[in-house]
């Protein structure tokens, strides 16, 4: 087993106690250091199960999971949870403290961090998510996006090697969504951290270095966002939509208008279109 991997799944199979089908069937993959990987798939494809396996909230029936070379098992579970920070879907149901600062303190208290150190970490993690000045705000006075940013700050304060966003933007409006993605992007530019985003919003996938597509508990495809979106037809077959930009360029293609390169973002699309226009 090569050690530098941040996360490695080896032949993982998992079944929920009450379920009769396997949620994951012999799944193996690696996530490298400082990589941003998006795991996508339709509901019930096993993508959320992967997230919960990564920090020992669930235990697989067979196979091994290593986090930073450390096997996830009963013995190492608290060490693993120090390395893996998770942000969940519902902004309200993961806010433990009565105020922003208390919520960040909760994780630090759990890991036995001393008070002086806590204050330092609180300051920089709030700065990292641009929530300075909100220290004493109560959760019901914050928007969903702000609450999720606090959740990210709480995770950052633990100084994890890996941050998992388990559908963290699913309950937010488009503005909140963008702010979360920008926050994560910003955080990644400042420190070494791997990010795993679990999502079915394909616009989020564009931020990732690599995409793992899950289907029926198996890894269906791995590749860069561009490679994955080129498979638009097959994606449709397993119940995933392609983003608007990809759809448009495909429609253009079927009309016989061929662009130089498959665009991914609005800007790329615009550039392609105007350069195409000046070429003809």
């Amino acid at each position: 087993m090569s050690q530098p991997n941040d996360i490695s799944f080896q032949n993982i199979s998992f079944q929920y106690p009450q379920g009769d089908e396997w949620a994951l069937k012999d799944v193996s993959f690696h996530i490298e250091e400082n990589e941003w990987v998006a795991i996508i798939g339709h509901n019930g494809s096993g993508k959320s199960t992967i997230a919960k396996l990564m920090n020992g909230l669930l235990t697989p029936q067979s196979g091994r999971i290593h986090i930073k070379g450390l096997e996830v098992n009963e013995e190492n579970i608290w060490e693993v949870r120090k390395k893996v920070g998770m942000v969940f879907q519902n902004p309200d149901n993961q806010f433990v403290g009565t105020t922003v600062i208390d919520d960040i303190a909760f994780g630090l208290e759990n890991h036995g961090v001393q008070r002086d150190e806590m204050l330092k970490r609180m300051k920089y993690s709030l700065e990292a998510v641009k929530m300075e000045g909100y220290e004493n705000h109560e959760p019901h006075n914050l928007s969903g996006g702000q609450k999720q940013r606090v959740a990210i700050a709480s995770v950052l304060a633990i100084e994890p090697d890996i941050i998992i966003l388990d559908e963290a933007t699913a309950m937010l409006d488009p503005i909140g969504r963008n702010s979360i993605m920008e926050t994560v992007d910003h955080v990644r530019s400042e420190r070494d951290v791997s990010v795993v985003t679990i999502t079915h919003d394909l616009n989020e996938v564009l931020f990732a270095d690599r995409v793992i597509v899950m289907n029926d508990g198996e890894v269906w495809k791995e590749g860069t966002p561009r490679e994955i979106f080129n498979l638009h037809k097959e994606l449709g077959e397993i119940g995933l939509d392609t983003p608007f930009v990809t759809q448009l360029s495909n429609s253009l293609k079927s009309e016989g208008i061929v662009l130089n390169q498959e665009p991914l973002t609005h800007k790329e699309l615009m550039d392609e279109l105007w350069t195409f226009y000046s070429r003809t």
């Binding site: 120090k82 993961q94 909760f106 630090l108 208290e109 759990n110 806590m118």
Partner: protein, 265 residues
């Protein structure tokens, strides 16, 4: 409903009473309540009343707020007073209304009990007016620390309290949402007999409970993911430290109590 999310009756402020260590405040209120019931001369009552009024002034909270806090108990105070006038038959007859004699002993007893009630509620109201619920939780956790030895789950109790406080506004917002959703489906909360109105609450409570349980489950998962494993080996961010001012105020309080004890008969 969604706007009234202030929990308890805390009035923000920077007064001496606000800044007093919550543990000391609780101990002082507790001692004060015991001493109220030990008072037996009008001088001793005077000392307690003066101390209570001094505390009210020191908080710099508008008296109207304090009186509002006492609202639910005014009835009780007046009721016990009248009850004493009717029932107690001691001392001399002061005057009579329609063949009914009012005794001097009854008047004194009635005043005494009403005053005790008043002081008791006044001091506890001051405590909640000047202390945030979370500070009270911290104080309880700290004061109950010795009970850990007899395996009393102090940390768990404090955590339960703070999580409840955290979720009260959330659940209130949710209640508001559900009641609107049900009202839009034709549930009538406002009219009808009491029985009908009670029945209308059922479609409000059921979804509220379902979602509360779901929240609890997700919260437990989030807490575990963030490394929560019980009180063992946990550090604390909110720490309570006695300031010199706290000690001085406490000494003053003890002096008041000693004066009180001397003035007892």
């Amino acid at each position: 409903m969604s706007n009234s999310v202030i929990i308890g009756q805390y009035v923000p402020g920077q007064s001496l009473v606000h800044r007093l260590d919550p543990r000391l405040k609780m101990i002082m209120v507790f001692l004060f309540i015991i001493f109220i019931f030990l008072a037996n001369s009008w001088m001793s009552y005077l000392v307690l009343t003066l101390f209570a009024l001094l505390s009210v002034v020191t908080t710099r909270i508008a008296p109207s707020f304090v009186i509002k806090g006492l609202k639910p108990v005014w009835f009780l105070i007046i009721f016990t007073f009248i009850l004493h006038l009717i029932v107690t038959k001691e001392g001399d007859i002061l005057f009579s209304i329609w063949n009914f004699d009012v005794y001097s002993g009854a008047l004194w007893k009635g005043l005494e009990i009403s005053l005790r009630f008043f002081l008791l509620i006044l001091m506890t109201t001051l405590l909640t007016l000047t202390t945030t619920p979370i500070s009270i939780t911290d104080a309880i956790e700290s004061l109950f620390q010795p009970l850990k030895r007899i395996r009393f789950p102090v940390h768990e109790l404090a955590l339960m309290m703070s999580i409840s406080l955290r979720f009260i506004p959330t659940l209130m917002q949710e209640t508001d949402k559900i009641s609107k959703a049900q009202a839009s489906r034709g549930v009538d909360f406002r009219t009808g007999t009491i029985k009908e109105r009670l029945k209308a609450v059922v479609p409000l409570l059921v979804p509220l409970f379902v979602s509360a349980f779901k929240r609890a489950e997700e919260l437990a998962m989030a807490m575990e993911a963030r490394g929560y494993k019980g009180g063992e080996g946990r550090t604390k961010f909110r720490e309570l430290k006695l300031k010199p001012m706290d000690v001085w105020i406490f000494i003053l309080f003890i002096i008041v109590l000693i004066t009180f004890w001397i003035l007892r008969t």
